[in-house]
């Protein structure tokens, strides 16, 4: 009795104190690529930045907007081309500097600069004005109704800190540059960077001066983030209690983790589509065996490849049902997605062979497939499966699988002919997909378009989306663009991912459909 009473008292006191000192040990397959918040538009990179830095607006786990550094925002009543954002009062950066409108102007201008990987999101902005210390106006080149949804991953840096540390320019990640801002961080976010060893271990502690301390659970006092690339090792770490939370439970281990006492798996469809890209614009490919012409430039070859991929087999065997076969490169979350397009491809090896024959490649050809091995769920296994499926229509694929830190620069620098990529849509709108992946590669758009694809007519339509206020017309334009993307088989969609987060019972969180945990929402029991 005594002991029970003592235990109950201990339990009570611990709940009464709140979980004041709760360390969460977090693991996922890959690390953040850089701490510079504007250098790489990439999921795990943003996921780490979200703990340290904050955007003006974030999305909660349902995808709805929630104020962060801005308290409210609305189109200006005088000028339809202007958005007015009111900023939060009394916010300080981790080094003590005050957060003001100056910092917002600085950060957005930085994110719009040439070297930034976020510029596609902001290309409709022509001017950013600090009206007073806590009001900012964004002037766009036409009314832009969806501007706020482009801001949920745009992190605010301290102008003074960046200037003092020679970090005004965005890090040239692809060029291998290291800057002060790529290895250090000073944000307004709920957690402060303590130490970081890339690919090994990153430690963050709770920011006790955080403006939202009383608005959010803020149960986590320390985050220890360890990337564990090997799937079996990652699961073993969770099973043995070495980590509390893994973001990517391998599909083959869902049953085991779910059935283990004290552990839970939570799942949700992810806002991300996995697909293959093809260099269809080059005159000749560097990594194939066809001289003098580019087989991928032939639409029939692309159609044949699209038909050769057996998405149902990938879903059943490689993904163990944890995916939704895709016929387009945007998930159902996204404005512009239609069931019809998503169901538009079916596997037909015989017809694919016939198409190869018609295209003049009846004897096939060989090509290299570049694939990441630590980014998407079973990425390398999907690529391997594709090797077998394409071999059935005569295409010999040499698979080169490597870590994402080496894979992504190949795409940004257009050094690959055939590659795997996954694309999430944080704006929940097709324009984001078009801006990055379809528009001609140029100064302010198309930075992830490694297809060599350029269609001026389509570019014009894509540009018109930013300022089209009549949503019906806009949706029609989106549908028109999709029909070209689908007809020309620019990409070979594979599937929409399903997220499986594994955690101990002590960790309480919903699964974020963007796969970006925000630890300020976590409740620790």
């Amino acid at each position: 009795m005594k002991i029970t009473g003592f235990l109950a008292a201990a339990l009570l006191s611990s709940t009464a104190l709140g979980a004041s000192a709760e360390t969460i040990r977090w693991a996922r397959a890959g690390d953040s690529l850089t701490l510079d918040p504007h250098a790489q538009n990439e999921g795990p990179t943003h996921a780490l930045s979200h703990q340290i830095y904050e955007p003006l607006i974030i999305r909660d786990t349902t995808g709805a907007f929630e104020p962060a550094l801005a308290t409210d925002w609305a189109p200006s009543e005088e000028d339809p081309n202007v958005w007015v954002f009111n900023l939060r009062d009394g916010v300080t950066f981790h080094d003590g500097a005050e957060f003001t409108a100056e910092d917002v102007v600085f950060s957005f201008e930085r994110a719009m600069s040439e070297e930034s990987d976020m510029k596609e999101l902001l290309n409709s902005i022509t001017e950013i004005r600090a009206v007073d210390d806590h009001t900012v106006e964004f002037v766009t080149d036409g009314p832009n109704p969806i501007l706020p949804s482009n801001m949920t991953n745009l992190f605010i840096m301290d102008k003074g800190w960046a200037e003092a540390n020679d970090a005004v320019g965005v890090q040239d990640y692809e060029g291998g540059e290291q800057t002060f801002a790529s290895t250090n961080a000073n944000g307004t976010g709920p957690f402060v960077l303590q130490s970081r060893e890339p690919d090994v271990r990153t430690v963050l502690t709770r920011n006790d001066d955080y403006w939202g301390t009383s608005d959010f659970p803020m149960d986590v006092s320390e985050i220890v983030y360890t990337p564990i690339q090997n799937a079996a090792t990652r699961v073993a770490a969770l099973l043995s209690g070495e980590v509390d939370f893994i973001q990517d439970v391998p599909v083959q281990d869902l049953g085991r983790v779910g059935e283990t006492d004290g552990l839970a798996v939570k799942s949700t469809p992810q806002n991300r589509t996995i697909f293959f890209g093809l260099n269809l614009g080059a005159d000749d490919l560097a990594n194939d065996d066809v001289e003098g012409e580019n087989p991928l430039a032939n639409k029939k070859v692309r159609q044949a490849m699209n038909m050769a991929i057996n998405r149902d087999a990938i879903k059943k065997v490689v993904m163990r049902d944890q995916s939704e076969p895709a016929g387009m490169i945007a998930p159902p979350f996204v404005n512009g997605w239609t069931e019809e397009m998503d169901n538009s491809v079916s596997t037909d090896v015989e017809q694919a062979k016939a198409l190869m024959e018609e295209a003049g490649y009846g004897d096939g050809f060989s090509i290299q497939l570049d694939c990441p091995n630590d980014r998407y769920i079973n990425d390398e296994a999907i690529c391997q499966a594709a090797v077998g499926m394409l071999a059935q229509i005569g295409i010999t694929v040499n698979l080169d699988a490597k870590p994402k830190a080496q894979h992504f620069p190949l795409i940004s620098n257009e050094e690959t002919d055939f590659f795997m990529l996954g694309w999430g849509v944080p704006t929940y709108d097709s324009e984001y997909v078009f801006n990055f992946l379809v528009h001609t590669k140029g100064d302010d758009r198309g930075s992830w378009n490694a297809l060599g694809y350029s269609n001026p007519e389509l570019d014009e339509k894509i540009q018109s989306l930013a300022s089209e206020t009549d949503l019906e017309v806009r949706d029609q334009t989106i549908a028109d663009i999709w029909s070209v993307v689908q007809d020309d088989v620019l990409y070979i969609p594979v599937h929409h991912q399903v997220l499986n987060w594994g955690m101990t019972d002590a960790v309480g969180t919903e699964v974020d459909p963007e796969d970006s945990p925000k630890f300020k929402y976590f409740e620790m029991n």
Binding site: N287, I314, K316, V387, A391, D400, A401
Partner: protein, 313 residues
């Protein structure tokens, strides 16, 4: 009559049967069992195209739906049957092991050959010529010995991969592996051969050859080399086991054989991902085979060392 007849030289076979080595072999059960295991495995690898029911290196024949079929059960979707089950890509584990073992053995043998040729040549030169030749060669050897062999192999593999054109990488991967493992392994041959050469070069028969006026290289090859080969043979056998394991290690780390042409190490890497989920056969069979192969070769090497060591007779 009979005593005048010149006895006929015994045939090679008879010589082998009457040798000390054969005597020792027939009286060492461990050696017999090991040799049997090695012979069975090598034959299975050599005859893989005849034995294996599938060709796992032809991706066009794979059916992904066959993936994860347990051994001795029919696949739930296709109804196909596989003796030792299938891996995550629907490859027959038995066939893949046979073909994978070919890669493992080929890489192992070739790498040891390369290491042996490089090591013996450099060791002979260092031991016989002495002077700056010896210092240079042996200091390089010392430097290389300060790095673990697997690190050296990874370094060579990385550089070679970087300079091969991407389109040929898959075909070249095997040769690059051989180069990497071979070059990481020559030092012990060189050291042993140099030591033995230092002893042999002062023997009377070498002095005699020198007096007669034989050229240096002729002496090295015709007189010294045959007399330093015994220890080389022992090292080569043990190195073979190590080279096979080195290949498996590199492939396990994902820097060796390409995933579309798996060796035993690649299969083990694939298999360990499914360890927790109950698909034990992908890991167990290749790992068991690698163990049997390496252990048998090692035991053979041990026996050979003892049998060739005059002091232990």
């Amino acid at each position: 009559m009979a005593q005048n007849e010149i006895p006929r030289a015994p045939s090679r076979f008879a010589r082998a049967r009457n040798s000390d080595l054969y005597y020792s072999f027939t009286r060492t059960p461990v050696a017999i069992v090991s040799a049997a295991v090695v012979i069975v495995l090598v034959l299975a690898a050599l005859l893989a195209p005849l034995i294996a029911p599938h060709n796992p290196f032809d991706p066009g024949t794979l059916n992904l739906m066959n993936g994860f079929t347990p051994p001795g059960e029919a696949n739930a979707f296709t109804g196909d049957y596989f003796l030792l089950g299938t891996d995550d890509q629907g490859r027959d584990v038995f066939s893949t092991m046979l073909y994978g073992m070919r890669i493992s053995l080929f890489v192992g043998f070739s790498a040891v050959m390369l290491a042996m040729v490089v090591g013996v040549v450099l060791g002979l030169l260092a031991g016989y010529l002495g002077g700056w030749v010896e210092s240079t060669i042996m200091r390089i050897a010392d430097i290389q010995l300060t790095f673990p062999a697997i690190l050296v192999a990874m370094l060579i593999f990385g550089i070679a991969k970087g300079i091969t054109p991407p389109a040929y990488r898959d075909q070249m991967a095997i040769w690059v592996l051989i180069l990497a493992i071979g070059l990481s392994d020559w030092v012990q041959f060189a050291r042993v051969v140099r030591g033995a050469t230092l002893v042999e070069k002062n023997r009377e028969y070498v002095q005699a050859a020198r007096l007669v006026g034989r050229a240096k290289f002729s002496i090295m090859i015709r007189h010294i080399l045959p007399n330093v080969l015994n220890p080389v043979l022992v090292i080569a056998t043990i190195s073979l086991a190590l080279a096979i394991i080195a290949e498996a290690t590199l492939s396990f780390l994902g820097v060796g054989a390409p995933p579309t042409r798996p060796s035993l190490g690649t299969l083990i890497r694939i298999g360990q991902e499914f360890m927790f989920s109950g698909e034990w056969w992908i890991l167990l069979f290749p790992a068991g085979t690698l163990l049997a192969l390496a252990l048998s070769i090692n035991l053979l090497g041990d026996w050979l060392r003892d049998a060739l060591n005059p002091k232990l007779r």
